[in-house]
Amino acid sequence: MSAVASAGFTETVAAHALELQGVSRSFGALVALNDVTMKVQAGERRAVFGANGAGKTTLFNAITGDFPPTAGRIRFFGEDVTKMPPQERIRRGLRRTYQSSLLFKGLTVFDNLYLAARGVGSKRFSMRRPGDDDATIEAAHRMMHAAHLDRLEKTPVSDLAHGQQRQLEIGMALAGAPRMILFDEPAAGLSPAERRELVEILRALPEHIGYVIIEHDLDVALRVVEYCTVMHNGAVFKEGTPDEIESDPDVQQIYLGGGHG
């Protein structure tokens, strides 16, 4: 166990957190991702922009293994994860949030977090109730705190506002020891106040946790990232710092003229 961990560590020093090489994904005749190559460093915070249909969510699905790529290679901290099932990638510290709410609506906020924390643990099946000092319960409390959800502990998810559900998604992504989180449009449909809270939550994440965020709202995205990737028609169109991207005429052309929502 320790040998594996230390071997992984020496690798992480040299390798990128996330490395995509010529990744493509087609659905029948439709090429949703076309030869995408990108590198994200450990602890880096990256935004992915692009009009609807540019392939952003498909990119996430390829990285997490929900819909593996049809061509190309994906390395996670130096390790080739291209063919690994999603759970194996989760075990290696990769997390994601979903665009549409995939929460457990009949359960409370805390129980959702508890299940997420339990899912990444080694013991998932138990018919015995845990005590208060249970490590998983403590972990779920920390996740709840990080996602600014403390006062909603006992609230059923079905009673949560949309913004609170997005926060809960983020909280669940913090289960275990995440090294890289993929946020799929966390600010979609949020009010200005909720967006401010979201920015606070993202900025307060520990520094070693890198993330990639899909975001239409440039105001939100440019305040929480160091580097941007712009996608167009399933391919990488441009990369650069937030300033470069914001002032790039080509980006403005496709982005503002693209008729996205």
Partner: protein, 342 residues
């Protein structure tokens, strides 16, 4: 709502309540006391035909509530599992097995059958689960109807009675009621406890979103099959009590009618909480016994159908849902009164 962190009181009021006692409230004690003194006041008919019968059918309904309410799996084979346990008790009894072996054998074989049914149906969902479990129930009905050497075909078995243990005649109304109450009470508490364990929580999450559970790293099929196993134990115990109460079992006991009755009484009471099936069973048994005072025996199905329609029309969550609506209505009224006084 059952939660992994449910506590009875504030931490200050009850600092060291054991984990298994959490969620117990004062009105649980009141109901328990009422149930204990009930047979002392009631006649034999009310004790057994109404009281014990409601508890037993409620227990079989509870096994369905566990599957459907927590697990999102509507199974029509719970009465079949109960019926199998009932048949086995009769068969092992005729073979003069010792009482403990007869009970353990009957309930565990019924549980094995339930696990098999779960294993077959766990990969389906919605209407397909209903169809598969219904097919299994119908198949079992024809099996016992046509099989003479083991199941004694259409005659079934009669004269089945509980064994005499500790010199008590468990067939007498009072002992039988208390036996039933004790066993059913333990099963009910067990389900309450289970709903707040990691397993119970995971089962409810599987109901809400199986794909997300799988992506969190949980084995969805294993949880579903395990739920069928637990529900099989409950249904099996219910089946043993049922055959003892009726004194006989025949293909008619496991036919399509009783199979549907369990579904009706469970939905009638409500799937949101383990108490639902018991409320549904009481209503069902009362109507079954007293509707004939108002109308012909043959019209019973019309009455139960009409009552079922009315309750489900007004409240898709059964009687439990009506109760929830009443509570929120009362809260609104008192809030309005307070506003009026201003």
């Amino acid at each position: 709502m059952a939660s992994i962190t449910d506590k009875t009181e504030d931490k200050k009021a009850a600092p060291v309540l054991p984990v298994w006692l959490r969620g117990v409230r004062w009105y649980h004690a009141v109901v328990a006391v009422l149930l204990v003194i009930y047979p002392l006041i009631a006649t034999g008919f009310w004790t057994v035909q109404i009281g014990a019968q409601s508890l037993i059918l409620g227990l079989i309904g509870l096994s369905l509530m566990l599957l459907a309410g927590y697990g999102g799996m509507v199974s029509l084979s719970q009465l079949t599992v109960a019926g199998l346990a009932g048949y086995l008790v009769a068969i092992f009894g005729n073979a003069e097995w010792p009482a403990w072996l007869m009970l353990v054998g009957a309930v565990s074989l019924a549980t094995v059958a339930a696990v098999l049914i779960g294993w077959i149906s766990a990969r389906t969902s919605g209407i397909y689960t209903i169809m598969i479990t219904l097919a299994i129930s119908v198949a079992f009905y024809y099996l016992v109807l046509q099989n003479d050497p083991i199941f004694n075909s259409f005659n079934g078995f009669s004269g089945v009675r509980p064994p005499e243990v500790f010199g008590v005649d468990w067939r007498a109304p009072l002992p039988f009621f208390y036996l039933t109450l004790g066993v059913v009470g333990l099963c009910y508490l067990f389900v309450l406890y289970l709903s707040r364990t990691p397993f119970g929580l995971a089962l409810q999450a599987v109901r809400d979103n199986p794909r997300r559970m799988a992506s969190l790293g949980f084995n969805v099929t294993a949880h579903r099959v395990a739920a069928h196993g637990v529900a099989g134990v409950l249904a099996g115990i219910g089946g043993v009590l049922l055959v003892w109460q009726n004194g006989q079992i025949s293909p008619g006991s496991v036919g399509i009618g009783p199979v549907i009755d369990i579904l009706i009484l469970t939905v009638l009471g409500g799937l949101a909480h383990p108490v639902g099936p018991f409320i549904g069973a009481v209503i069902f048994i009362l109507m079954e016994n007293f509707a004939i005072d108002l109308i012909d025996r043959e019209r019973f199905n019309t009455v139960i159908g009409a009552v079922f329609l009315v309750i489900v029309l007004f409240s898709p969550d059964g009687v439990l849902g009506l109760w929830g609506k009443l509570k929120s209505w009362l809260a609104r009224q008192s809030a309005r009164n307070r506003v009026d006084q201003w």
